[in-house]
């Protein structure tokens, strides 16, 4: 791109054609005030604080002004300061800002600007509008009293999250940010990702769980990686005096726009559970407490005296812990599995069986935004991989055709062009699609004939034709397979379909750490003598609970009290996610750092050392 040269405050700068004056100034460290502009969002020119003087006559917002050869820009004249002060005061007077008891006091962009422009008195009378506070949402408080109508939340919800929940409603002084068609936030189509809150410049949208726990300056910041799913979003973890205050997304420059999801942002703040701090041993209905060392000896002796051991680990652990745990378990002759690994094993097996080349598989999930058509099997990705779900919604909003297939409710109902509800297995549907593609385009009548022959089939011929058309009309189509699909036949038919149509596949599994792809795992005994569960954040996993119930003796290692620890015979404390240090591998195969954000609480200091000792006690 060609360079454009122009002048800002007497300094010659050059910028690439197509940039705005604001972007060019930012690159050259020239400060321009702003409230509505945000690097992850399209410019709206709502706040007008970024006004600059152009060629000595015109005053215009710099976020909407494209660079042009020879422009003469002034950013800091007395006239501009006067206007900006006026704008700030008008923004302030329209609502009820009380810094003193605002959660954002100290983290507020409006407050910073009021300081910058030295506003110590008001020229205009204030309005004191009477707004209600909306606290109906589980995690977010929406307070119009502190809103500056910058529209960042609205744009973030639309452009980044692809959900279009927030809108502007009303006119003039009754203008406000509304949710859907004016419902409370807690009853809306909100996905609870909290992106609106993250971009809010004031305290208008704030996190219920971190209210008044400290502003950013008072907290310690740790840059880490989210272990809620395999997307592995980069996070800013804020802690204060060893307690979690809040978590924010950071990948502003990436496609994700810095978003996180409900699980990544809020779950650690809400659902901390009761901490397991001691080893608990249960025998004949009696419960006793042991020291960590005694617990280790106990576990070692039980493992040493058993032949059928099933070891099952959470997929949300670091590579180092998974390694240490698997080594310790192998040393005791256990079969070893990780949450999500089963699906990956099936996938590999099916791939090999049908000779499917790796080229069909996409690991970069942002590719869905480039696809012409998307076929989505299992819409539970809305919960399991919410950031991918946001990309699919964004694609669909921009015109990508989306067909969803789910046994239950279509979580993409307001974005999909076609929702197919078909109970498991999806095999029949996919098989018919394959058949139609292979044997030439059969008419709907032919299909009806097939379906009547097969009898009892719940597949609608129209659905089959829709999918056939979807895949045939596009040159770049992506099939996304959610993690609930774990039967080999469904996978096989879907893979065959992709192979036949030259479609690309994004295949997801439940493991947050894709280290499982290189780790040796296998199916474990379903009714073992001993089950050793390393629960991580998967304490609600059904397979884990089943294993504990079916084992003669069960050992559960977990950081918090849960159904699992209640049922276990031996409970060993473990670290919580934010007390761990290590690495994780995301869906793209990229190694990411998981940083220790809080000092371990309790006797357990290092799980790796624990497992090494357990392995030695063979």
């Amino acid at each position: 791109m060609s360079d454009v040269k122009f002048n800002v405050d007497g300094k010659d700068i050059s910028a690439r054609k197509g940039m705005t004056v604001m972007e060019a100034c930012e690159e050259n460290d020239i400060d321009i005030p702003k409230l509505c502009q945000h690097e992850a969002l399209e410019n709206l020119m709502a706040c007008r604080l970024c006004v600059v003087e152009v060629n000595g006559k015109q005053i215009t917002p710099s976020c909407g002004l494209k660079v042009n050869e020879g422009l003469d820009i002034k950013t800091q004249t007395e006239k501009l300061r006067k206007y900006r002060r006026m704008i700030l005061e008008l923004i302030y007077r329209c609502e009820n800002h009380y810094c003193m008891f605002c959660e954002s006091d100290g983290d507020c962009e409006l407050q910073d600007l009021m300081y910058e422009y030295e506003i110590d008195r008001f020229e205009y009378p204030r309005m004191f509008p009477d707004w209600d506070v909306d606290s109906s949402h589980n995690h977010i408080v929406k307070d119009t009293n502190r809103c500056v109508r910058c529209g960042r939340c609205i744009r973030a919800c639309d452009e980044v999250v692809g959900n279009q929940t927030l809108n502007l409603g009303g006119r003039g002084i009754t203008n406000e940010v509304i949710v859907d068609s004016g419902v409370p936030l807690g009853e809306s189509t909100c996905t609870s990702c909290g992106m609106c809150m993250q971009v809010c410049p004031t305290g208008s949208l704030s996190n219920k769980h971190s209210l008044f726990k400290g502003n950013k300056d008072e907290c310690e910041l740790t840059k880490s990686t989210c272990l809620s799913c395999s997307i592995g979003c980069c996070t800013d973890v804020y802690t204060r005096t060893g307690h979690l205050v809040k978590i924010e997304g950071t990948d502003i420059d990436k496609e994700s726009g810095g978003q996180l999801c409900e699980r990544g942002r809020f779950k650690p703040l809400v659902d901390r559970g009761k901490r397991i701090s001691n080893v608990i041993y249960r025998e004949n209905g009696e419960e006793s407490e042991l020291s960590l060392q005694e617990g280790l000896e106990k576990a070692a002796s039980i493992l040493g005296n058993s032949n059928e051991i099933s070891a099952f680990a959470s997929g949300g652990l670091t590579c180092e812990i998974l390694d240490a745990f698997s080594k310790a378990m192998r040393a005791h002759g256990a079969l070893f599995d990780v949450v999500g690994a089963k699906r990956y094993r099936f996938e590999t097996e099916v791939k090999r069986r049908i000779n499917m080349i790796e080229g069909h598989f996409i690991n970069d999930i942002t590719e869905v935004m480039k696809a012409e058509n998307i076929l989505l099997y299992d819409t539970s990705i809305y919960n399991t991989h919410p950031v991918l779900a946001s990309y699919i919604r964004r694609a669909a909003s921009k015109g990508t055709k989306l067909i969803t297939i789910d046994a239950y409710e279509d979580r993409f109902w307001n974005h999909s062009d076609k929702s197919i509800t078909i109970e498991s297995p999806k095999t029949q549907l996919t098989r018919l699609v394959n058949q139609v593609i292979k044997e030439g385009k059969a008419s709907i009548e032919d299909l009806s004939r097939v379906s009547s022959i097969l009898g009892g089939l719940r597949v609608h011929p129209e659905d089959v034709m829709e999918i056939v058309n979807l895949l045939e009309e596009a040159s770049y189509d992506i099939i996304v397979i959610g993690c609930e699909i774990i039967d080999r036949w469904s996978l096989r038919h879907i893979f065959e379909l992709a192979k036949l149509e030259g479609s690309y596949v994004i295949s997801l599994n439940k493991a947050s750490n894709q280290y499982i792809r290189s780790l040796e795992t296998e199916g474990v005994y379903e009714e073992p003598e001993v089950a050793y569960i390393l629960a991580g954040e998967d304490e609600e996993n059904e397979d884990m609970i089943k294993l504990v119930e079916n084992a003669e003796f069960s050992i559960v290692q977990s950081s918090k009290k849960s159904e699992l620890t209640d049922k276990a015979d031996l409970v060993i404390p473990s670290l919580s996610t934010f007390e761990r240090n290590g690495t994780t591998i995301d869906i793209n195969g990229k190694k990411k750092e998981v940083e220790l954000a809080m000092e371990p609480k309790g006797e357990m200091r290092s799980e790796i050392a624990f497992f090494e000792e357990l392995a030695d006690k063979r």
């Binding site: 003193m100 006091d105 407050q111 300081y115 030295e118 110590d120 008195r121 204030r126 004191f128 509008p129």
Partner: protein, 179 residues
């Protein structure tokens, strides 16, 4: 006491006296200050509450009733330089939250709805009448200097007083300004 020392009076209107408390945080500067100025009246550090003729008048708090109006006007008449001290005096502060509603409804809600069955809205000549809206000081009288903060820190108070004693009107720049 020296004859030429500037005289200072402070008064609190509808507020929490937090600004006055914060003033006490200036610690040993109080000693220097006593050398430099003469306090004519101040409700937290002396017994004299009646405002007399002074050079510098300092007002804390919001104007919410007719007594506040009277105090403010009296201070204005008796001082050369009037300082609005703290967020309430400068901007209106927390007391302006009552401006969202009608005063009668608010009194009813506070005294009747939230009280027990015998509660009534107080009605006595001794009780100052509430103004229709809670106001910042400059909505009622002319203000010469603004020192916002909730409360302004001891350093800011000291800075403001020092400037005033140097004969300047203090103006807080972006590094000193904190609400």
């Amino acid at each position: 006491m020296g004859k030429n020392k500037p005289k200072v009076a402070t008064a609190c209107m509808c507020g929490c006296s937090g600004c006055h408390m914060s003033f006490l945080d200036v610690d040993e500067f109080v000693k220097d200050l006593a050398e430099l100025v003469e306090f004519q009246s101040s409700h937290v550090i002396m017994d004299i509450k009646d405002i007399g003729k002074v050079d510098i008048g300092i007002l804390e708090g919001t104007i919410t009733n007719d007594e506040n109006v009277e105090v403010a006007k009296k201070m204005r008449e008796n001082c050369d330089i009037l300082v609005a001290w703290g967020d309430c005096a400068c901007f209106g502060g927390i007391m302006t939250m009552r401006n969202f509603g009608q005063i009668d409804n608010i009194l009813e809600e506070c005294y009747v709805e939230k009280g027990d069955e015998d509660s009534v809205v107080p009605d006595d000549d001794l009780i100052p009448t509430l103004t229709k809206k809670a106001k910042s000081v400059d909505e009622v009288i002319k203000v010469d200097a603004y020192i916002p903060g909730c409360p302004p820190s001891a350093e800011i108070i000291r800075y403001g007083l020092e400037k005033l004693l140097e004969g300047e009107i203090p103006k807080l720049d972006k590094d000193k300004l904190r609400y």
